[in-house]
């Protein structure tokens, strides 16, 4: 039969490719990996969103939180690096956690990713809206809820379309945009610091060593809340660890791009946060948290050059929106392929080859979510979203860290290196993130800690009791970040149970696996998953 020989044409390699490099799946040059890692983290947008929120919790000690938040992320990166060796280039908490801890936990991990991606969308749209108006000097419109939301919705529509159609910037354009972003932020910081030292800037403060010392923060709750915001600024950095870097020996070169992107990010966050708060003090950042870089850049660089910073934020927000929609659709596709959610979510558009249905659905749900949130809480979308986001990130990064140690548990004591990098680091990273999660639950259960002090949701919840010497009470409702962040995660539990009852096959039949060796690539999670397309 003629058809027999093409049953599996996949993987047919064009043999005589020079150096065997051309067809290495997903292999990227060091520069490309670096660009992807840093662009996914989106420094300018992250700073625009987080600067004022971190100072709101810890005042001038914000730079300390900026670097401290990186430590758990670094530990979790070890988990990503090693899990990636079992299930290469996958990067989904969903498949990894399913392997290590079984389908129910894995499902909730995947849900965590989707919800976190959803929660970040309003903050991206909000920044896109406000900064677009600032770019054109329309500061009145930048403060109008209606018009900002209007532009924000258009932003989601355009970005969803870009991801659906599959428009990609060329590598050179990406390198240019990212370099421009970093150069602009650096110049902004240098100019701000120079002017502070020259004197004459209102409310300016000279930088002090105490700013980078986390032990100067005396409230555990405030530290935890600030950390929850600051882990967000490193969110996406793990991409640098999981994209396959083209190297002489991929297994032995633990991502030079990851190391470099780390240095770049920590440096830029420290410089900008120090410069920003020394210019007008921490109070200014908190008071202008919704458009902090726009206001500040105007004062620092003047009318003629402030648009550079605004443009950097917008370009960064656009990269960040894409690195939210694309992975969200791919996670949904992954879950659909393995039978964990309806098959429709895994369909591929035949023309554009994108996960079409999942992409469009994510766009629509994001718009609904953004508009509803704007109606419920018009004055603090950014703060509530970013803190709620922190809960989601802490949850799914945390569970990934723990999954790494669980998955490789037979190998942890084989060598000191194993013990440190697949035992201690991922587990510690996971536990630190869970601890932050829990402390922040308590912190935001008190509406006095909301970004608009006293702002409370779900006021009908009322309890007050003592347990093991702890006074546990909710009497005035809960802070919005808690309701959004934890509420959306919890919503996954009944959905998971429903799907498990209705469709136990094949996904919920999985048993947790354990790794026998580090370099042994795991067999497919669902062998022969059916082909799906529109």
């Amino acid at each position: 039969m003629v058809e027999a020989e093409i049953v599996q044409p996949t993987g047919i390699a064009l043999s005589a490719v020079p150096g065997g490099k051309g067809l290495k799946v997903g292999a990227l040059s060091m520069i490309s990996s670096l660009v992807i890692g840093v662009a996914s983290t989106a420094p300018a947008y992250s700073l625009a969103a987080a600067l004022g929120l971190v100072t709101a919790s810890v005042g001038l000690i914000a730079p300390a939180v900026m670097w401290l938040a990186f430590v758990p992320m670094l530990f979790i990166a070890a988990a990503y690096y090693y899990l990636n060796r079992a299930d290469p280039d996958c990067g989904t908490t969903f498949t990894w956690v399913t392997r290590a801890m079984g389908p129910k936990t894995g499902w909730i991990g995947g849900w965590g990713i989707l919800m976190t991606d959803l929660v970040v969308m309003p903050s991206l749209s909000q920044i896109a809206g406000a900064y677009t108006f600032s770019l054109f000097g329309a500061h009145g419109l930048a403060n109008s809820t209606f018009w900002v939301t209007f532009i924000g919705v258009i932003w989601i529509v355009v970005m969803t379309a870009i991801c659906y159609i599959g428009i990609e910037l060329s590598k050179n354009t990406q390198v240019f945009l990212l370099s421009a972003e970093l150069v602009i932020l650096t110049v902004f910081s240098i100019v701000a610091l120079t002017r502070v030292f020259e004197g004459g800037v209102a409310h300016s403060v000279h930088p002090a060593l105490a700013w980078v010392d986390p032990f100067k923060i005396h409230s555990v709750g405030a530290l935890s809340a600030a950390m929850l915001v600051a882990v967000f600024i490193y969110w996406g950095w793990d991409t640098a660890v999981t994209v396959n870097e083209e190297a002489d020996d991929i297994k032995r070169t633990p991502g030079r791009a990851a190391v470099l992107s780390t240095l770049v990010l920590v440096a830029i966050y420290l410089i900008v946060s120090i410069a920003a708060q020394s210019y007008h003090g921490a109070g200014f950042l908190t008071a202008h948290s919704a458009d902090v870089l726009s206001g500040l850049s105007h004062d620092v660089l003047g009318h003629d050059f402030s648009w550079l910073v605004i443009l950097a934020v917008l370009s960064s927000a656009s990269a960040s929106t894409q690195t939210t929609i694309l992975p969200a659709a791919r996670s949904a596709l992954s879950m659909a392929v393995h039978g964990a959610v309806p098959k429709r979510l895994g369909s591929i558009n035949r023309r554009y080859l994108s996960p079409g249905f999942a992409t469009l659905l994510f766009g629509v749900v994001s718009i609904v979510w953004y508009v509803v949130l704007t109606i419920i809480s018009p004055n603090d979308i950014l703060g509530n979203s970013i803190s709620a986001l922190g809960f989601g990130i802490a949850f799914y990064y945390g569970i990934t860290g723990i999954a790494c140690t669980v998955y490789y548990r037979k190998l942890v004591f084989k060598s000191l290196k194993n013990f440190l990098f697949i035992g201690v680091a991922p587990l510690l990273g996971g536990l630190v993130l869970f601890l932050m999660f829990v402390v922040s639950v308590f912190y935001y259960s008190n509406p006095a800690n909301s970004f608009i002090p006293g702002q409370a949701w779900l006021k009908f919840i009322h309890f007050d009791f003592h347990l093991f010497g702890w006074h546990i009470y909710v009497t005035k409702g809960l802070g919005p970040p808690l309701v959004l962040g934890v509420g959306l995660l919890l919503l996954g539990v009944p959905l998971m149970l429903y799907w498990r009852v209705r469709h136990p096959d094949p996904f919920f039949r999985h048993r947790a696996e354990v790794a026998e060796s580090i370099d042994g690539t795991a067999p497919p999670l669902t062998p022969g998953a059916v082909g799906l397309h529109d």
Partner: protein, 143 residues
């Protein structure tokens, strides 16, 4: 001795129109025909393994379909289906280079030039980058 005829095939109207032309060219020159489907997920999206696998399956369905059609049109032509993990234009260039192709055959996208310029039309890229002749076959008018 001429090399392969390389056909880009994605089951679009254009590529369906290009298929019989490629078969005729291959038959006339006594050349083997390589049917190529290329794909590459945007690396910015991460998390690509399951997505890649789905694209691979979709691609092998498409080239299998093209293979059957080619065999029906000209059973004497040797046809090889290839699913290549590179962007569409790159996959054709790579296949052409590796097979020392006689010609690359692709379907016109049928889109207005400005749309093609924005979305990056494959024939357009090939015209600039291909080391071998490129034959662009217009899509038939659809109802």
């Amino acid at each position: 001795m001429a090399g392969d005829v390389v056909l880009g095939y994605d089951d679009s109207a254009g590529s369906r129109a290009a298929l019989p032309v490629a078969v005729r060219v291959a038959k006339a020159f006594g050349a083997p025909l390589a049917v190529v489907f290329g794909y590459e997920p945007n690396p910015l999206g991460g998390e690509s393994t399951d997505y890649r696998l789905q694209l691979e399956r979709l691609g092998s369905d498409m080239v299998s379909k093209a293979l059957q059609e080619a065999r029906r049109l000209a059973p004497e032509v040797t046809v090889e289906p290839l699913v290549v993990p590179l962007r569409p234009a790159d996959s054709l260039l790579e296949a052409a280079r590796e097979r020392q192709a006689l010609v690359i055959v692709v379907g016109g996208t049928g889109e207005r030039p400005i749309v093609g310029a924005v979305l990056g039309s494959v024939p357009h890229k090939l015209l600039y980058l291909s080391p071998v002749p490129v034959l662009v076959v217009p899509a038939e008018e659809e109802d």
